[in-house]
């Protein structure tokens, strides 16, 4: 007779499906997963400690180095927090250009997340298509900001560079091509029977559990919570009449599909920005001063919060960053992975929450 034994199965810290090192310790009974724990500490940067005591001019570059995937939003939230604290106004054109760059950053982050998921469930073809599409988005980021990853595009009182008319046309033309690709890949994902088998009804995160763990971003919105989106509170997004998307599936499939939905939404937002883009300056000026603030923004993975305290010279006295991956990884390990039917679903479920260890270990 076959024996069923209780064992602890550690995944990682180095795992072929994980983008970054983390150790997920799964408690199993036979092939059932009864619980999971996460061990961190393999890439701690101590970046918050490095920021303390430095002038804001240095910290704005450090902020976008918290995460290599969603660097734009770290730049944006840090600068907007300083602006709000010091009453610095941003020209309309610059505010819209910030949204354009932020949405491009969201697009490349979501595409990378969906690539990782497809790669994890062994659908490499779709994964490679998605990576190829991400390159087009990265090229657009480079076109506008001059850099692919750490752009430092957003500065107090505006943005670093204006968008030339020929670049705007090129951006819109590329977005048309990307939209066609997204719709094609969405169809492939939605209709793929093997994808469905590996993704539907797997890694369930109920609405109650999402609330309990304070899950944010697409992870929360895939559990039927459209209101969990900080863009709703952002003045520029309000002008663009932004409405969040959500799904009720609560499973891996919904989390991937909502990122596809948000890709289309980002394209639409960029088009709206482009249509509303007024003539005018992109840098209004202004120097951050003393103050204390808690400021949130919507990163690709969810709510990103900066707690900042500065002195008269704009030096950072205290700073604390709450990244969305903290909440989402916790929700993943303590709810999605708990009672999983198979250990084989653990890597894909973990990846479906789009975990960013760099963000978690600031």
């Amino acid at each position: 007779m076959k024996k069923t034994v209780d064992v602890s199965i550690p995944l990682g810290p180095i795992h072929p499906c994980f983008k970054e090192p983390a150790r997920v310790k799964c408690e199993t009974k036979g092939e059932f997963v009864t619980g999971a724990e996460v061990e961190l500490g393999y890439m701690k940067k101590g970046i918050e400690r490095i920021m303390k005591g430095r002038p804001w001019q240095e910290v704005m570059f450090l902020a976008e180095r918290v995460c290599g995937i969603c660097s734009v939003i770290h730049n944006m939230v840090f600068i907007e927090a300083l602006e709000k604290m010091s009453g610095i106004e941003v020209p309309e054109r610059a505010a819209l250009l910030r949204v354009v760059v932020n949405e491009l950053d969201r697009m490349q982050s979501h595409t990378l997340a969906n690539f990782s998921y497809c790669y994890t469930i062994e659908h490499e073809t779709l994964g490679m298509y998605l990576l190829d599409m991400r390159e087009k988005v990265m090229d657009l980021l480079e076109l506008i900001t001059g850099a692919r990853v750490t752009c430092a595009y957003i500065v107090p009182g505006g943005v670093r560079f204006d968008l030339r008319e020929e670049d705007r046309e090129s951006l819109l033309a590329s977005l048309d091509a990307i939209e066609t690709d997204v719709r094609r890949y969405m169809g492939m994902f939605e209709g793929g029977s093997l994808i469905g088998l590996r993704s539907r009804d797997i890694g369930i995160l109920s609405k109650e559990a999402a609330l309990e763990a304070h899950a944010v971003g697409p992870t929360a919105r895939a559990s039927g919570m459209p209101e969990i989106d900080r863009r709703l509170q952002h003045p520029t997004y309000q002008k663009l009449q932004f409405t969040p998307v959500s799904r009720d599936g609560c499973d891996n499939f919904s989390r991937i599909m909502i990122r596809f939905d948000e890709l289309l939404q980002s394209i639409e937002l960029i088009r709206r920005c482009s249509a509303l883009l007024p003539e005018g300056p992109v840098r209004g000026g202004g120097i951050p001063g003393a103050g204390e603030i808690v400021y949130c923004g919507e990163a690709p993975r969810g709510e990103l919060t900066y707690f900042i305290k500065t002195d008269d010279a704009g030096r950072i006295l205290d700073i604390s960053i709450q990244t969305p991956s903290i909440m989402n990884i916790e929700a993943c390990c303590h709810y999605m992975l708990k009672d999983a039917a198979s250990i084989a679903d653990v890597p894909s479920t973990f990846v479906s929450a789009d975990p960013c260890i760099a963000c978690t270990e600031r």
């Binding site: 550690p10 810290p13 150790r23 724990e37 996460v38 061990e39 961190l40 500490g41 701690k44 918050e48 609330l211 309990e212 763990a213 304070h214 707690f307 205290d318 604390s320 709450q322 903290i326 909440m327 990884i329 916790e330 390990c333 303590h334 978690t360």
Partner: protein
């Protein structure tokens, strides 16, 4: 047999998480609420929580404070939901007898505020064991 590579003692790293600005504020708030020493609470958390749950303490605490679904005043004041679901310091079986006892004290005529204070101290004792 060679030494383990990844099975490390995580106490120092867990402590580093707990003494960071936001975590420290929340831990001190909970310790004051439950009338236990800060170090005592830190030790309990380090023993019972994994690193990810510890990282998420401030966000969970915030979510727990906002949750107003619990209607019974005594249970709400004692942090029935906050300390069992959001910050899982206690099991339901540990907190329910305390709630019963506090409700009994209130029924016997003790002012509710004092009865809650006694109940919180009883919860604090659970952490000290």
């Amino acid at each position: 047999m060679s030494a383990v590579i990844y099975e490390k003692d995580l106490t120092a790293m867990k402590y580093a998480i707990l003494v960071s600005g936001r975590h420290d504020r929340v831990v001190r708030e909970i310790a004051a609420d439950l009338q236990v020493g800060v170090q005592q609470l830190r030790r309990y958390i380090i023993r019972h929580f994994d690193m990810m749950l510890m990282e998420n303490i401030p966000a969970r605490y915030e979510a727990g404070k906002k949750d107003d679904s619990l209607m019974e005043p005594v249970a709400r004041e004692l942090g029935m939901e906050l300390y069992t679901r959001y910050i899982p310091l206690f099991g339901k079986k540990q907190i329910e007898p305390v709630i019963d006892e506090v409700e009994m004290l209130v029924a016997e005529g003790k002012p509710e505020e004092e009865a809650i204070r006694i109940g919180k101290a009883m919860l604090g004792e659970v952490l000290s064991r």
